[in-house]
């Protein structure tokens, strides 16, 4: 039997997959809250944010598949990329795949990701790839609402009760070691910057730091210390949680290959 691995090796396609997989994986983690959020309004809010992220992921995976095909690879569509790739071929940073944790963990991660996506989408509006620029033009507007929503919760919980403050501090401590990967440079990143496809992620650090600092100060939460280790999800090296998540996310397509609605 032929093994289907759907490897994407074009540098531009990989650059887009890093972002597309980040959106896809976080979308899946947020969708896990459906029916479990602490209140109905938050169930709806997390579901809506997950839906926006999924739409952005679909567009990016589609474009990545096209770039891969232009580079002489197989023509892979969004479904083949989402459902029929193996763990080592997903290129999202590890931050997005961590289990959803408690509500404090989810909102803290949402803020971290939104503060990173906002300057990234903003710069991608000037991408040399017209389709990527068009996707960014829409996404940058959506992510502002995500950022505002997460910031509201981080302030409310950070400067809330003793219990909510304790949980927020624990969430920050758990999540902070994964931040470094969001701003690490490598050859894929450099190639995208050189071709004008998108910015080097390291460029986003100052915007991220100042947005996070403003919210954390208002929430009266101390900023954790940076840690030296840089995770390698962007090169396909994931945490132990990723495989479990994919087994759920890909179950239907793995069980009924080629099945469509």
């Amino acid at each position: 039997m032929t093994k289907v691995s759907n490897v994407v090796d074009d540098a531009g396609a990989q650059y887009l997959l890093r972002l597309g997989d980040a959106c896809l994986v976080l979308s899946h983690r947020l969708s896990e809250w459906c029916g479990h959020a602490p209140m109905l309004e938050e169930d709806l809010a997390l579901g809506n944010i997950a839906l926006d992220l999924l739409g952005q992921a679909r567009a990016l995976l589609t474009r990545a598949g096209q770039l891969q095909a232009q580079a002489g690879g197989p023509a892979l569509d969004e479904d083949q990329l989402a459902y029929l790739r193996e763990e080592r071929h997903f290129l999202n940073p590890v931050l997005m795949e961590l289990p959803r944790g408690d509500f404090a963990f989810t909102q803290t991660r949402n803020l971290m990701v939104a503060c990173w996506l906002l300057p990234l989408w903003d710069r991608l509006r000037a991408s040399s790839d017209a389709e990527v620029a068009a996707i960014a033009g829409k996404a940058v507007k959506e992510v502002q609402y995500h950022q505002q929503h997460a910031a509201d919760w981080v302030v409310r919980l950070g400067d809330g009760t003793e219990e909510s403050t304790r949980r927020m501090q624990a969430a920050l401590a758990q999540l902070w070691p994964y931040v470094g990967e969001l701003f690490a440079s490598d050859d894929i990143d450099a190639a995208a910057q050189a071709s004008g496809l998108g910015p080097s992620w390291a460029e986003l650090r100052d915007d991220w730091d100042s947005a996070m600092a403003a919210v954390l100060a208002e929430a009266k939460l101390p900023r954790p210390q940076d840690t030296p280790h840089v995770y390698a999800g962007r090169r396909g090296v994931h945490s132990e949680h990723m495989g479990h998540m994919l087994s759920t996310m890909q179950m239907l397509q793995r069980t009924y290959p080629g099945g469509v609605w």
Binding site: L44, N48, L51, E142, Q147, A151
Partner: protein, 184 residues
């Protein structure tokens, strides 16, 4: 018949001959948004263009939200509605990104009558830094008038509502809950 807020980009003289395009616009003006069935696709401002092709018509649509699950349903509705004009080609065009500013004045009135407060101008709500205002100190969000009684004494209950494009409010005057179409 309601024309879109922005004129279609195809040659306007093109449809004056046989009136087919005018008729097709009229049909599109009757196709309602599946999630907000108070307004038509034209009033919502998502029909970017309509042009004649060799064997039918081509409709250019701009999706509202990246993840809007109604996109496929809308495409299908457009195909069915325009079937009598021949082969219907539906093209999705992302840029320029759809904005609530493209909702027509008629569309805004229909939203209000339906119980959804229409969006304000986008410039007021977009591109601003994060607002760090406690809920207790006032919402910090823009004033939204109740679509039922018109009172400005309203309160936001949730930033996200039944669909990605709306948030939940309640009116402190008439006590009715309502939805607000967010500026995007």
């Amino acid at each position: 018949m309601v024309r879109p807020a922005l004129p279609p980009t195809s040659d306007a003289a093109h449809d004056q001959g046989c009136g087919r395009l005018s008729a097709a616009w009229e049909v599109l003006g009757q196709v309602l948004d599946p999630e907000v069935p108070a307004v038509s696709l034209v009033e919502l401002g998502i029909v970017r263009d309509l042009r004649e092709t060799a064997d039918g018509v081509e409709v250019v649509l701009t999706p509202t939200y990246s993840g809007c699950p109604a996109t496929e349903a809308i495409e299908q509705q457009v195909r069915e509605a325009l079937a009598r004009f021949g082969t219907v080609t539906v093209t999705l065009q992302r840029a320029p990104a759809w904005t609530t500013d493209w909702i027509t004045p008629e569309g805004r009135e229909k939203l209000r009558a339906y119980g959804i407060a229409p969006p304000g101008p986008v410039a007021a709500g977009q591109g601003v830094p994060i607002r760090l205002v406690r809920p207790a100190a006032g919402s910090g969000a823009q004033a939204v008038s109740c679509p039922r009684c018109g009172s400005a004494q309203t309160q936001r209950l949730s930033a996200f509502g039944s669909t990605a494009c709306k948030s939940l409010y309640r009116c402190l005057a008439c006590r009715e809950p309502f939805e607000f179409f967010k500026p995007l």
